[in-house]
Amino acid sequence: MNWSKYSAPLAFYPLAGKMIPWFSAVAALAIAVGLYIGLLVAPTDFQQGDSYRIIFVHVPAAWMSMFLYVVMAIWAGVGMGLNARLSFMMAQAIAPTGAMFTFLALLTGAMWGKPTWGAWWVWDARLTSELILLFQYAGVMLLRTSIDDLRRADRASGVLALVGVVNIPIIYFSVKWWNTLHQGASVSMTAAPKMATIMLTAMLLMTFGFWMYSIAVILSRVRCVILERESQPAWGNPSAAPEVAEAR
């Protein structure tokens, strides 16, 4: 398997280094064009006025927050199944970015809620479950930092991440299961099809940009993690290991 060559952290490190610039560039481009269309080209929404433009950061951030959690859990699962350290490192690297997007979704949502609903916050299902998602990220990260032993920390937070996946569908479908404010507010999207196309383009571009950005950031964070872990003597390059054993 060619893949297995890169499953060793130290082999993956340079590969990741080569990929980062590309993803960063694509991300910058997509976000720039998305912003241009979203802020400068797209017309005002006839119901909500210009406050709807928050959608161009809100929805991508909200989507990323959920996707990243699932991706994190998958990496953790692979790590547990194959006993692969790199997988755990990926999971570790994803969590902060996911948490940040969750936070941004909450914040931009609140910014949108004030003009639209007249309140910064309502205890509606979608909002609440997004808040819960933030706690899940926090839990995974806190559990990891609370355990000193790296191997134990990896596995314990992996178990937690996997268990937490059950909540993702609940967040996603909460709008259907529980009659909410959130759903009703977004009807204007379908009201004017022509405008929706432009909006959709901008939104998808932004989402794509956020995706690429996440990949770039996660790759460079995983490089940091690799450095931090591999620079400890015994983990390090395998040829040094027997030396450590003999030296004592």
Binding site: L107, M111, S220
Partner: protein, 56 residues
Amino acid sequence: MYWGSVSEFLAMGGYGLYVWTSFIATALGITWEVLALWRRRAAALADSRGIVRSIE
């Protein structure tokens, strides 16, 4: 181009506060993350004892 003037653009039809807070917060979040990563990388490189040179 949809907007007539810069001030109109900034006002966002009266929703400027909300819209710009959202966008700026997002921008800040991203910059903060990138900066934090940069610092972390510098720190990691500082005590990596030249592992990087050996593999890159």
